[in-house]
Symmetry: C2
Subunit: 601 residues, 2 copies
């Protein structure tokens, strides 16, 4: 276990920093006192010390009139830290939050946050830190801005530490597992938590994260839970009690440890003693399952044969829908939001977003749609576009792990889309199309998918990032079309074992009562291995058949959900309309219980 | 090509038999004149001559007060024929119709017809004929009585010749292919047609029969179509014209030829000349397909992957239905008949008949139900019972080819049911149950089915007689039950390639909205290879999903049926009830166009 240091701010106050003063300024004005704190931690046994740059970003320093001193302070901070180093000491460049909520929750634009982080991290990198340590972040979207910036300006390992509340989520609603998914895929090298809670409360956070990612886990607790006394926050946990939690945290999966608020060199010394006497135990790596996990800010959706069928709502698409297209042309998103909420109410667990309006630049439209949906709903999104700029805008704006819809074997998709997917840690829907056209047989589709998988892994994606589309064609044009698609699903499972996805509604194009064809095809496809249908979730028959299929395919144990949904239904006669009529407003930030899935990404 | 003789009656009339006299009586009183006719045919080149016993059955002879002379006349007739034989001449013992329609179309009880035929055929057999020739039969049920009697009392090859009308069917509605299926399976050795029509009209009859059976085909036309002159029937086709049809009949598949009304030794001599100069051509044996064919009196239902899904209606079953049970206890069949007609109107192509009423002897109930349904409907029946006596009663009474529901691996089923199925030429539903209970896995079911197939082929059945049941269990009791059944269907197809069958409704037992579960399960099972679901055809959702599944599985080319059914349907909202309200009376005897299926049994 690697030991980081403890609190800096309180140590500086003890050394004379006035309350309300800028701690980072001391790097310039009293670097020897900063070095002195670092030395105490090094002497206590810390092998990684954190620079005094927690607030050394342009927006934070602006409060003290030091906006233009970011680089100067960062360089001074690293120098002050280096003065304290022993040969085995490493320096982590601390990067704290901007102190503002990002749009649309707050006022700060994502790109402004990104620029601030890029400036600070660039300076720290140039000054020679060994790690970039993004810490005490309460909003996953701010963390994404910082992490993307770090990846853009530095090649140093990046540590991402979020801060959780008593309910186990960040202030803006992200649980540890969801955070770990998003950050792992986005390229964080070490993932963890710091501040807010004491070590006992962070055991479950560490457990949750280490169950879902193979990245190392770091934990830097406060010295117990904060207690308010006479308007001031105090931390009362003794060094021995504090360090006494280390074995439990190690058992939960942490391999990096340090202290946050209220911790002192004594706490770190006690930790050093415990760590040196710790039975070396290797982390139990979570078992890799063949599933793709998508995430919103606040929940995950697993797509794979051992998970409930994921329902991808297809309705946010202006193609052939004049009213929605006209609204989007006018820069309005009422229809989009309405469709989002109604689809979720009708059972969609993922929303597909297509912004293809003739004559309009898709990218800004996609960005705004994603921003608004991300704050209004809790489901992951699929960015449905053929425009690389719109794809990047959507993925960048989404505070979770989105799905790229889609990457075919066409060179422009392979070359432009796969690097973007990799950069944003997105999952990819692989569509077996070539420049030559649409492959008719399952065997041809398998061959094309094999090409796409090779290109995707070449671009740095893993198999667990990929969903395979079985390609539903129109049965009115070819009587064998649906059968071939079902064979394709079987062939995918046999050849790849990766989860599958498919838009259903093509199959019924040009025929009456499309709901019957779509519904029957859905049941058949689910039985043949389809994991994530893309469909119109309002269709009452589809809803009914999805519920029944879940029972039949063993995805609704003891038919519990089914029985409770239909207990008062009368039989057979008519599937009367239960069209959604109300808008249930369940904003993304509302806390929910995500079922614990002890699987990994 | 084997050449039979020509007409006997007209020849005897020329020899002095008075109109209205009993021709068969001349075997006793003027045997030398009978022998003289036979001699002329033998001299003309016939190698098989037919005894003068067409009407030598008890009911026919009773018209002349000769009811008790059956045996005496038959023996005399065979003697008279033998007198005319050359070394290579064979004798066919002619057996004509009783002259009465069987119950319930007419007055004659099946068992009385059977006894009459058994008496006559037994006499002919004992007298030493080479073939039993059952001829000029206009009702398939009378033919069945005769054939069953022949098989019971004689080991001689049995020739079955039906008589067809201009519309290509027998008077009671049986087409040549359906007749060939029923008679082939019931054990006829040579199958064909005689009388009624001239040779040109019988070409298509021969073609139809030879396309569906591998048994040899016989054809004995009249000398042209009958013409009525002054109240008497005349036949005008010349010997050369008559014989000129032989190459066409041979090409159509006939390998036995002879003459009926209006033919003379000259016709046979002309035939001999043509046959001797015929290019020897072997019959093109029809390709065997892996399909089970069931038949009613008037149509066939093919069950297999290249045919439309067979819909087996499950509603004729008093289990748990108090009203129907009470009626049956009172010997009434109103509810049974109503359910039959409604199910057919709702799309059933086969009807399952279960007569399991507590405290009532099933066999007579089954017989009466089958008799009444057979005359009222045109669909094949499945005899659903665990009682061997009821099984035999049902199969015996049904004027077609029924399905035995079911034969498990339980010894009492194997030992009692398989010989009965073989005797009546029925198809068999193989159910993978053992005395040990219900097998949970697909692999176990495959192993049990393998045992049943071995026992069935041991009992003289062929693989094309067998339907495999995949065993739908209750998903409420076991979440994996439906999945395992779907795997079983796949495993059956891989291991056996035989058609499959399955009752669906078990799957949803104990859960609400069973229509949803049954419907989704049906679509899944059809896609996994189910050929014949047993279901409640009134269920409107099931009906819809069956229609949609047919399109999706390539069984409704160009979605023709689907489109015409749903062209005026509006989409999605609600599957409004289209419950059957009228009783469409389509009696079995009404002529229908059966689509030509050029496949064999
Ligand atoms: Zn803290
Ligand atoms: Zn005739
Ligand atoms: Zn005439």
């Amino acid at each position: 276990m690697i030991l980081f240091d403890g609190a800096m701010g309180t140590m500086l106050q003890q050394a004379g920093l006035p309350a309300g003063a800028c701690p980072e300024a001391w790097c310039l004005v009293k670097p020897e006192l900063v070095t002195a704190v670092h030395k105490k931690y090094v002497d206590s046994g810390a092998t990684v010390i954190e620079t005094n740059t927690f607030g050394a970003s342009r927006p934070k320093l602006a409060h003290y009139g030091l906006a233009d001193s970011v680089k100067e302070i960062c360089f001074a901070a690293v120098r002050a830290a280096r003065e304290a180093c022993q040969p085995n000491t490493r320096i982590a460049g601390s990067v704290g939050p901007t102190g503002q909520l990002l749009q649309p929750l707050g006022e700060l634009a994502f790109e402004d946050a990104y620029q601030a982080f890029a400036e600070q991290i660039s300076a720290l990198d140039e000054a020679g830190v060994d790690y970039i340590l993004i810490e005490t972040i309460i909003d996953i979207q701010e963390m994404r801005a910082a992490l993307l910036a770090a990846k853009a300006v530095s090649k140093k390992p990046v540590i991402c530490q979020l801060t959780f509340e008593k309910d186990g989520r960040t202030v803006t609603g992200t649980d540890p597992q969801t955070a770990a998914v998003i950050l792992d895929k986005l390229g964080a090298d070490i993932i963890g938590a710091n501040c807010s809670l004491g070590p006992s409360q962070l055991v479950s956070v560490v457990e949750a994260m280490s169950a879902i990612t193979q990245k190392p886990i770091i934990v830097q607790p406060n010295a117990g839970m904060p207690e308010l006394e006479n308007g001031k926050t105090h931390y009362h946990m003794s060094p021995d009690e504090f360090a006494g939690w280390i074995p439990k945290l190690a058992a939960a999966g942490a391999t990096y440890f340090g202290g946050c608020c209220g911790t002192t060199p004594e706490h770190i010394r006690a930790a050093r003693y415990i760590i040196d006497n710790l039975q070396t135990s290797t982390k139990n790596w979570p078992q890799l399952v063949k599933a793709v996990v998508l995430a919103s800010r606040s929940q995950r959706v697993y797509i794979g044969k051992d998970f409930p069928t994921a329902i991808i709502g297809e309705r946010i698409n202006p193609t052939g829908r004049k009213a929605m297209a006209a609204e989007l042309q006018a820069g309005k998103f009422q229809a989009v939001k309405r469709e989002a909420l109604l689809q979720i109410q009708a059972g969609a667990t993922v929303l597909d977003i297509n912004m293809g309006v003739a004559g309009i630049d898709q990218a800004p439209l996609m960005r705004r749609a994603v921003e608004q949906l991300a704050v209004m709903t809790k489901v992951p999104l699929a960015i449905d576009t053929t425009d690389p700029a719109a794809l990047e805008a959507g993925l960048r704006a989404f505070p979770g792990r989105a799905l790229v819809n889609s990457v075919s074997a066409e060179p422009e998709r392979i070359e432009a889309f796969l690097p973007i997917a990799k950069k944003y840690g997105a999952a990819v829907l692989c569509l077996p199309l070539t420049p030559g056209g649409v492959p008719a047989t399952a065997a041809e589709r398998v061959a094309i998918i094999r090409q796409i998988i090779a290109a995707a892994t070449g671009a740095g994606l893993t198999e667990n990032d990929l969903l395979l589309d079985a390609l539903a064609l129109t049965v009115a044009a070819d009587s064998q079309a649906a059968l071939e698609t079902l064979h394709t699903l079987t062939a995918y499972r046999e050849n790849f074992g990766l989860p599958s996805v498919m838009g259903l509604s093509n199959v019924s194009f040009g025929l009456p009562r499309r709901d019957l064809l779509n519904g029957a095809f859905c049941a058949m496809a689910l039985a043949a291995g389809l994991d994530a249908p893309i469909l119109n979730p309002y269709d009452p028959l589809m809803k009914d058949l999805l519920a029944a299929s879940a029972v039949l395919l063993g995805k609704d144990q003891h038919a519990k959900k089914y029985s409770s949904s239909y207990v008062h239904s009368t039989a057979a006669v008519a599937t009367t309309t239960d069209k959604p009529t109300q808008l249930p407003i369940t904003p993304a930030l509302q806390k929910t219980d995500t079922p614990d899935v002890l699987e990994t990404i």
